[in-house]
């Protein structure tokens, strides 16, 4: 079986974004009848690889081959037509249409006579298409009435259907298909994947390593844009895979552990029984001045929900927030900002920075009142503060009035952090993956800023990008799984836990 030409192969794929390298030469092969596991931490390059395979992004260099032929994919539609179908994490069926309409959308030609759809024929073909995924539903059911897993199965059916018309065995990319499934639904999906491999090839991307080991024939491990290992599931354990994903520790004091504080101020933030959409159990925790508490968990575990509940981005269904002993009424981010809670969102480009405004305008936006006398902003004071912070955080910029867009990602992120740090009113900093997408040097700079904040007595709530980062930076780590807290692990400078200690609580 291994002698045949791979149905899908990528060779030396490189994808560079301004300032970072997302893929640094990845080669992967996939044959019909195979289920390939693809794992890696956030930022390892998985999503970039998928974007290239579905034609959403073009690689900087390298080749994508289907059946041995070089392909230039020009978009999701083009990729599907050539036999690569992706089942998206965010589902891609249209909710207000029926199952049958979704299955044949855009390809009704065979079903129409003078533009009028022949319903009986469509129904018959839809039933045929649903058979391989094993659901017994009326094709005229509206998709929004279906459960999550049913919708996922419809999507798989659609991918298979299109794959068939490409005249070759379809390649099905499953992106985190199991992340919200439990029990019977999960078993159904797994048995479907078993069935799929008979005449197609499957790429299975998941954070749940036990499932990856159970389903896959081969597993590729991505780290920092490279394939660091290719292994067979036999004999491998979840721990082995995790160690491969996390990689070797940085030798010197990359995270500034020496600067980690052990003496804390009074409790700055007390959260009691917080419950937000995306969490399943209420959560309580405390954050002291000078302390860094990291929240870790796989995607969808609820860490983001906690952070967003605290700053008022997401609506809380329950929970009390007390800041420096005083109950806080936080309904929207402007309330939390007033109370001295700074928020660094994970999406720097769309949520953190106003790219068209100048560096100065970004820097002073959060605490604009501090630069104003009776509502009139003083340019002089703004300039002085901007210059001071550009220097303190060594932001590389040609000037303070250039648009944010012209700065590199790392320097943009420094400005996003500085807009909170510049005020003495800052008491708590909520930072979501503040180092994501930055190069090594910029990451170290960001870590230093976090240490500085802790030195000033600010309590830091950190959603780390990697386990390594969480362990390196935090005094304490709270682990979440499926919307519940599963562990709270102390991480003093003298006795840091290792990733494996956390992993067992995460999966």
């Amino acid at each position: 079986m291994n002698s045949q030409v791979p149905i899908l192969a990528v060779r030396d794929l490189v994808k560079e974004y301004p300032g970072t390298v997302a893929l640094a030469g990845v080669s992967i092969e996939l044959r019909v009848g195979e289920v390939l596991g693809l794992i890696g931490e956030n930022g390892a390059g998985k999503s970039t690889l998928l974007k290239i395979l579905t034609g959403v992004e073009a690689p900087t260099s390298g080749k994508v081959l289907i059946n041995g032929e070089i392909m230039h994919l020009r978009g999701v539609r083009d990729a599907t037509a050539k036999g690569i179908g992706m089942v998206f994490q965010e589902q891609s069926v249209i909710p207000n249409l029926t199952i049958a309409e979704n299955l044949f959308l855009g390809r009704e030609a065979a079903l129409t006579r003078f533009g009028v759809i022949r319903r009986s024929k469509r129904r018959r073909l839809a039933l045929q298409a649903l058979e391989p995924v094993g659901i017994d539903l009326d094709p005229n059911t509206v998709v929004e009435d279906l459960t999550f897993v049913q919708r996922q199965l419809i999507e798989i059916a659609k991918v298979l259907l299109i794959g068939q018309s490409s005249g070759q065995a379809p390649v099905v990319l499953l992106d985190e298909p199991t992340s919200v499934l439990e029990g019977d639904d999960l078993e159904r999906l797994i048995s479907l994947i078993e069935k799929l491999r008979q005449d197609s090839a499957v790429v299975f991307i998941s954070h749940r390593l036990d499932e990856v080991l159970r389903i896959s024939d081969r597993v590729y491990v991505l780290r920092d844009g490279e394939v660091v290992a290719e292994c067979r599931p036999e004999g491998a354990t979840e721990h082995d895979l995790h160690l491969l994903m996390v990689g070797a520790e940085h030798s010197d004091d990359y995270f500034g552990i020496e600067r980690q504080r052990s003496d804390f101020g009074p409790v700055r933030l007390r959260v009691t029984d917080l419950l937000v959409k995306g969490m399943r159990e209420p959560l309580s925790f405390e954050l002291r001045g000078g302390e860094v508490v990291a929240f870790v968990g796989t995607e969808g575990s609820g860490t983001e929900a906690v952070a967003r509940g605290v700053v008022g981005v997401s609506e809380r269904s329950s929970g009390k927030i007390v800041i420096d002993g005083a109950p806080a009424a936080i309904r929207r981010p402007s309330d939390s900002a007033k109370l001295g809670i700074g928020y660094v969102p994970s999406e720097r480009k769309t949520d953190g920075a106003l790219l068209s405004l100048s560096l100065r305008e970004n820097l002073t936006l959060a605490y604009l009142d501090e630069f104003a006398t009776s509502h009139m902003v003083s340019r002089r004071r703004e300039r002085a503060a901007t210059k001071e912070w550009v220097e303190r955080l060594s932001v590389k910029t040609p000037g303070i009035d250039v648009p944010m867009r012209s700065l590199s990602g790392g320097n943009q992120q420094k400005v996003v952090l500085a807009k909170w740090l510049l005020s003495n009113r800052l008491r708590v900093l909520v930072a979501e993956t503040p180092s994501r997408g930055l190069d090594v040097g910029a990451k170290a700079d960001v870590y230093e800023v976090i240490r500085d904040a802790a030195d000033r007595g600010v309590g830091v709530m950190l959603l780390a990008d990697t386990l390594e980062e969480a362990i390196g930076l935090a005094n304490r780590i709270i682990v979440l799984r499926d919307g519940r807290q599963t562990a709270e692990i102390e991480a003093p400078a003298s006795a840091k836990p290792v990733p494996v200690d956390l992993i067992e609580w995460m999966v």
Binding site: R77, N96, G106, E108, G115, G312, V313
Partner: protein
């Protein structure tokens, strides 16, 4: 203009928790959208029958039927546009532009041109041209439809004013026949309107184009990825809406016998309010021609009730404006949390 919906955070919705209250499942919501307007209309008719003895008379019901024709035709066009998630504000402009064009081409008292039926066909073609421009500018130049059609609204009015000349063209009695001739005691245009509604219903329900309209309204990006020719569909829909606005203008001409720049005033409100009241959401993809038609009849009956009650006509306009706002807010209420840029 960026409406908040363009920036909406769609990724935040969890699979297991559709928005709105738990009891309001998608199926129940669809049922409510389908039958709510019918029940509202029934209740409205009932109340008016009890309150005003003049309401449930044969003469008044005929009046309502005659008054419904134009809004129904306009409603079919607008409903299709709104199903895409777009909007057509140019209805009134296109109506009067066509009204004047047809008047000057039919047998009239201003010029000697008399193209007969051809006048109507050319008039509809003019409406189609307006619609096609709307659609092409929206789809190919990528300008929000409200802005394009807002501009075209005034272009249409300007064209009509230009055609006005010294005196408003009055058309001959025979040229009005196709609109005003009585059938079963009701003007013929009512039956034409019913046929238009039926055709609109069949188009949306049973043709590929119709399903593509719903797909685009449901999720334009996914529809495009699935191979729907989004831009082509948009141009076609706006063109059809233009034709129907033109037909509305031709009807209005037939009814009045004379072209008038102000003849279309207020039509946009009645139509939008009706379409939205009928449960066709401005966000697109939900609702349909039949529901919209029910909504439009609600508006007509409501206005008829206000007339019977002797409400000042200017105040009626204000009330319609308020209904537009109230209807849009009410229909959007359950979705508002999802549309927020930041909670």
């Amino acid at each position: 203009m960026v409406q908040t919906d363009y920036l909406a955070d769609s990724a935040s919705a969890l699979p297991d928790s559709p928005s709105g209250a738990d009891w309001l499942t998608p199926r129940r919501r669809r049922m409510l959208a389908a039958w709510g307007p019918v029940i509202t209309l029934g209740a409205l008719v009932l109340v008016l029958t009890i309150v005003n003895s003049k309401f449930a008379t044969a003469a008044n019901i005929k009046t309502i039927a005659n008054q419904s024709a134009i809004p129904l035709v306009l409603g079919v066009g607008l409903a299709m546009v709104i199903l895409l998630g777009a909007i057509d504000l140019s209805i009134e402009g296109v109506m009067v532009a066509t009204m004047f064009s047809v008047a000057l081409m039919a047998a009239n008292n201003v010029n000697d041109l008399d193209l007969g039926v051809l006048a109507i066909i050319v008039g509809l073609a003019i409406g189609a041209a307006f619609g096609a421009v709307n659609g092409m500018v929206n789809a190919y130049l990528r300008i929000p439809s409200f802005m394009v059609t807002f501009g075209m609204w005034f272009v249409g009015i300007g064209v009509a004013q230009r055609l006005l000349g010294r005196q408003p063209p009055r058309i001959d009695l025979e040229a009005r026949n196709w609109v005003t001739v009585q059938r079963l005691g009701v003007q013929q245009m009512f039956f034409i309107a019913v046929i238009v509604v039926a055709l609109g219903f069949l188009l949306l329900r049973h043709t590929r184009l119709g399903r593509h309209i719903y797909a685009i309204g449901g999720n334009e990006e996914l529809a495009s990825q699935s191979g729907v020719h989004v831009r082509r569909v948009k141009v076609m829909v706006f063109t059809m809406a233009g034709v129907l606005s033109g037909l509305g203008g031709a009807f209005a001409l037939g009814r009045a016998g004379v072209a008038d720049v102000t003849a279309s005033q207020g039509r946009l409100f009645t139509t939008i309010a009706g379409v939205v009241l009928g449960g066709t959401l401005l966000s697109g993809g939900r609702g349909g021609v039949l529901q919209s038609s029910v909504g439009i009849i609600i508006m007509i009956v409501l206005r008829n009730g206000m007339v019977l009650a002797g409400v000042d006509p200017f105040l009626q306009d204000a009330v319609e404006g308020a209904i537009v706002v109230a209807a849009v807010i009410a229909m959007n209420w359950s979705a508002r949390a999802k549309l927020r840029v930041v909670a």
